[in-house]
Symmetry: C3
Subunit: 147 residues, 3 copies
């Protein structure tokens, strides 16, 4: 079991570190812009950084679910690479948002694209798994034979 998901675990750990790192950057922003906890409003700079973190938290479970579903049911290597691109997009998103609300948009869209592809892979893999399990038809094998 453990050997089958080394890459997925590695990508999940990197994304967990990124979440902790974002939380740390919010802590630094609190000091820099003198926003004493538990306040969640203050300068626009601080509010953008806080929103950037919270948005990443909101999407973290979504990311983990589609990453693992795509990795398990479709292809672990492809899912892991897309996962790394998603983590990179979140990095750009966070630092873009810290600069201006507009600068977050391209990276956000890249992240959503990655999630969409991972979701599509999960769906295909799941359909294939159901077809294989219940109707004894391995669609993926048939497709790979065509090439």
């Amino acid at each position: 079991m453990a050997n089958d998901c080394i890459l997925l675990v590695a990508v999940s750990l990197i994304s967990a570190c990124q979440q902790a790192y974002f939380a740390k950057l919010v802590g630094y922003a609190r000091k820099k812009y003198k926003v004493v906890p538990p306040a969640i409003t203050g300068t626009p700079e601080f509010e953008r950084i806080l929103r950037a973190q919270l948005n990443s938290v909101e999407f973290h479970t979504v990311f983990l679910v589609v990453l693992w579903a795509a990795g398990w049911f479709f292809n672990e290597v492809i899912a892991s690479i897309l996962g790394l691109v998603y983590i990179f997009s979140r990095h750009k998103y966070f630092h873009g948002y810290a600069e201006s609300a507009k600068a977050r948009v391209p990276a956000f869209n890249l992240g959503v694209s990655m999630l969409s592809i991972l979701l599509g892979m999960s769906f295909l893999g799941l359909v294939n798994c159901v077809a294989d399990h219940y109707f004894d038809v391995d669609v993926m094998k048939h497709i790979s034979k065509l090439f």
Copy 2:
């Protein structure tokens, strides 16, 4: 392994899509009520929609943990059906909250009931698994023999 949790993965994917959908609805609400990011306050309508999303985020990890524990240790089909009811309750909760703070309560309570049942199933399944593993007593089998 993969075959043992098709339903749980499917329900998890649906709940992940729902989370992304809620995030999108908050985006629409920002445009509709002219609440420019990163602001988190504005009209009461917008604030209710944002809170509805955040509350769903807060409960998403709780949901995933009890769904998988109940599905693995008790019964996958029952856990998946309860999971779908939970997702439905969140749908009603979100749209109820968007209308008024009061309208969210019945759906919220339905969701909490689902989480409670899934938690109870997880607990029973876990106790059974411990009894089976360490004391070689399969309680579930004994119970099913009674009927």
Copy 3:
């Protein structure tokens, strides 16, 4: 499979219950300090309790990822014990924060230490797994032979 992770599932369930409990305490605080939903500001007492919950939500996925990675790839018992200490630290953090912003710091640091150790365990376990899988070298076995 199920038998290999009883402890990790049990600890995950306890942490899920804790999250639900924190959400309930925020509900009580809303009543006590008369902060009507969807408001997220009010008395400083209420705002501290809300922040304590939100911070716990932010770290919940991080916790679950490092708990499972450390439990799977390093040692389930050690990971579960550290997980319990983390849950305890969150308990102290929440109730500390409810009293004053300063009182949350020691428990927060304890929690971060637990997450760091779990992350280190995950990393070591992952490296060992890669070395074992791709280079046929089981580092852990070599280390345990030294003692």
